[in-house]
């Protein structure tokens, strides 16, 4: 089809067309940058996951189809990691959520010095994860460490206090460290939610004779739905992709007791030279995170509609 010159000129002169073109052109740089730093690596991860490669550019890549995925799903460590991620998510709801919510109410109260408290609670978030791991390593040190000493002081001499060196307790110890680190960040999310609730509603409730527990259950929690939704998505995605805290404390050990998908990915790439397999784990992580976000958003939007 030939476009007549006057047709093109007419199109360019068209206000609606120009406006659309402007939108496209203005968003193009952001789209290109996004594609380059997010889409391209993701596509590359998926592509590489179908090959066997040892990480040496000059060595040949052997196409293996779905073999990396099958091997990953058949690996016992996949199920260990899955279980540990589950524990992480659960600890988010049982530890981080109540603590962060409580801290949010503290910094939203009329307490004196709440600015100091807010900074203190948020402080772990700005410390390097390696430094946190080192600090907790000494806190949990079984010979004379503060936690072990506390256990002995209260008469629990028979308890094996080597938490990070225990196949059973290591993952739980890490979730406690994780909760300590992230409670402050989630406190801010809940604090923002609390701020958005108009004071008049509470005042009206007081007039109606509502007690504090009823205020919490029937006003605060329902009106903070979006904060809770944000927390849930953060908690689930953060747990699925967790890496640095586990790596810095136990490295996934002892054995593979505290392994998570992130540590498996890292080890397969940088210790075992299984880059294809490692990319299969990476692909799984991308799909799992994306899938979890979709499912959670679907559940939340369905609830909103209902």
């Amino acid at each position: 089809m030939n476009i007549r010159p006057e047709g093109v000129a007419g199109l360019v002169g068209n206000k609606n067309f120009r406006s659309k073109m402007e939108s496209v052109l203005l968003s193009l740089p952001a789209f290109l940058i996004y594609s380059f730093i997010i889409i391209y690596p993701m596509v590359s991860v998926f592509y590489m996951s179908f090959f066997k490669w040892n990480g040496i550019p000059s060595s040949s890549m052997e196409f293996t189809g779905l073999r990396n995925y099958i091997a990953f799903f058949m690996d016992n460590r996949f199920y260990t990691a899955l279980r540990n991620i589950g524990i992480f998510i659960l600890s988010g709801f049982l530890l981080i959520l109540p603590v962060a919510f409580f801290l949010a109410t503290v910094i939203q109260s009329k307490l004196r010095g709440k600015r100091f408290l807010r900074t203190s609670y948020f402080f772990p978030q700005v410390i390097s994860r390696t430094a946190i791991a080192l600090m907790w390593y000494f806190l949990l040190y079984p010979e004379g460490g503060p936690v072990a000493s506390l256990f002995h002081m209260i008469g629990l001499n028979t308890v094996d206090v080597n938490f990070l060196g225990s196949k059973i307790w290591a993952i739980y110890a890490i979730t406690v460290i994780n909760a300590w680190t992230y409670a402050g960040f989630n406190m801010l999310i809940f604090s923002a939610g609390l701020t958005s609730i108009p004071e008049e509603i509470y005042e009206a409730a007081v007039v109606d004779g509502v007690n504090p527990l009823q205020k919490l259950m029937y006003i605060t929690v329902p009106m903070m739905k979006s904060s809770f939704q944000l927390f849930v998505i953060n908690c689930v995605i953060g747990s699925i992709t967790t890496f640095e805290m586990v790596y810095a404390t136990t490295g996934g050990g002892p054995g593979s007791a505290s392994e998570v998908f992130g540590t498996l990915l890292y080890k397969n790439a940088f210790t075992y030279n299984n880059y294809g397999y490692s990319n299969a784990i990476g692909s799984f992580l991308i799909i799992a995170s994306f899938g979890a976000t979709l499912i959670l958003n679907f559940i939340f939007s369905k609830r909103d509609r209902d």
């Binding site: 040496i56 080597n162 002892p254 054995g255 593979s256 080890k267």
Partner: protein
């Protein structure tokens, strides 16, 4: 007016897109330039510095040997202003591996690096990451004339059909045992040299609140070293050969019996408690403080132990043997380890500078300096004209080391499965968190089977 605003908006949008593209193209050339520079330094202008990176495991200034390396890097820089030597060394083995592997995978391998050799690293040789040094050795025979020739075997891949020598040895070692003699004297116990004697002495030491043998299992290599050293005292090199050929399985009777013995020692309290809470450095600290009576370690720690406040109380002997296996008393874990290698090839812009760095850190002058700094203690890849009278620990070590009739590196190093070393070490670690010997053997063999299945 509105028309004019729209036109300006359109033009701005166009300009933004165009600037992005031109930025990209500018970046491309820039990135290429920087990549070339970091890849060892294109000496574009005659007076421009050539960048050469060096990656070793020497970054801890508290360690005598590492401090010496750091000082020599500074000296090299002052003597060679035309070479921008970038020391990216890191003491931690895993971090070092990650740095090296990342540089290789990104197509920009570090120019001078410490290479571990053996079959486990054959892929790097086969795929041309590591340069053949043999032509350089032939070109400059003076350079290596004092090196002990037997130390080159782990970087000689002729058995695999690859000609050449792919590294120069830096750290010959022997796994040995240090004893806090003062503790044994105080308790009136003779220093035990066999496992039977150690097991007999253990209850007396434990009764006094002393750990018989410190074992810092937080460093997972400790378990790997122990297994190999123990296997040499029971089976000589035979078990290693059988495991590598596949004749013996990792969950086979002989291997499991060794792991069981380790487990037995742990259960008897020979290794003390909370082993997963401390590292190899912790072992030395316990030996110095008297918390532990024995520390199985290696010759690389002799200089550090000489710096102990109670160094005169420490004696060095070979790794304990079994009275029931006297024939293997002089079988050792040890030999060459850590080679210095290069990735640059003749014709590369940074080749001459890289070779200069390599030669500097493996020269006779370099070793002579270290020999003097360490006052003759420790082990060296070269022989010296004038022998410095060594300290008691070195003499003790040499007495045993020189009697070695066979010496091997860690068993997993001889296997082509690159992951095997970590698999074995990580699983040996679980002895200290309650795993059974058979379980450990089964997990390791499972990994080996998976590897073999995927590499058919």
């Amino acid at each position: 007016m509105v028309k004019k605003r729209n036109a300006v908006g359109f033009l701005m949008a166009m300009a933004m897109v165009l600037s992005l593209f031109s930025g990209c193209s500018g970046n491309n050339s820039g990135a290429g330039g920087s990549s070339q520079a970091s890849a060892g330094g294109q000496n574009q202008a005659g007076n421009e510095k050539v960048a050469v990176r060096i990656l070793t495991r020497y970054s801890n200034p508290d360690n005598v040997r590492e401090k010496y390396f750091i000082d020599r890097v500074a000296k090299f820089k002052s003597e060679n202003p035309d070479i921008d030597l970038q020391d990216i060394s890191v003491s931690d083995e895993n971090s070092r591996d990650t740095k090296f592997k990342t540089s290789v995978a990104s197509g920009n391998p570090i120019e001078v690096f410490n290479f571990l050799g053996y079959a486990a690293n054959i892929d790097y040789v086969k795929n041309g990451v590591v340069a053949d040094l043999d032509p350089l050795f032939k070109e400059d025979p003076e350079w290596t004339k004092n090196y002990k020739k037997s130390l080159f075997s782990p970087v000689d891949y002729s058995a695999y059909g690859i000609e050449g020598i792919y590294g120069i040895p830096t750290t010959p070692y022997g796994v040995c045992t240090f004893y806090n003699k003062a503790i044994f004297d105080k308790l009136g116990i003779q220093i035990p040299e066999t496992w039977e004697q150690i097991e007999a002495a253990a209850p007396k030491l434990i009764e006094k609140g002393i750990t018989p043998m410190a074992f810092g299992a937080k460093d997972n290599y400790r378990g790997g070293h122990f297994l190999t050293a123990l296997s040499m005292k029971v089976y000589g090199a035979d078990l290693k050969d059988r495991l590598i050929s596949g004749e013996e399985k990792w969950n086979g009777k002989d291997t499991v019996s060794l792991i069981s013995y380790m487990k037995k020692l742990y259960d008897e309290g020979v290794f003390g408690k909370n082993n997963l809470a401390y590292t190899a450095d912790g072992e030395l600290a316990k030996l110095e403080s008297g918390e532990a009576a024995i520390c199985f370690s290696g010759s690389w720690n002799i200089a550090t132990i000489n710096g102990f406040s109670n160094a005169k109380d420490i004696v060095c002997k070979g790794f304990p043997y079994f009275e029931a296996h006297q024939e293997n008393k002089d079988m050792w874990m040890g030999g060459p380890d850590d080679f210095l290698a290069i990735s640059s090839k003749p014709g590369d812009a940074d080749y001459d500078a890289t070779v200069k760095v390599l030669k500097y850190f493996s020269s006779q002058d370099y070793w002579q300096g270290l020999y003097e700094v360490q006052k003759g203690s420790g082990t060296y890849p070269v022989s010296f004209g004038e022998v410095i009278p060594a300290d008691t620990l070195t003499n003790g070590f040499n007495e045993y080391y020189n009697s070695a009739v066979n010496m091997i590196g860690e068993i997993e190093q001889y296997d082509k499965m690159a992951a095997l070393m970590d698999v074995v070490r990580t699983n040996m670690q679980t002895i200290f968190s309650g795993s059974k010997a058979q379980e450990i053997g089964d997990v390791i063999q499972g990994e080996v089977d998976n590897y073999l299945a995927s590499n058919k």
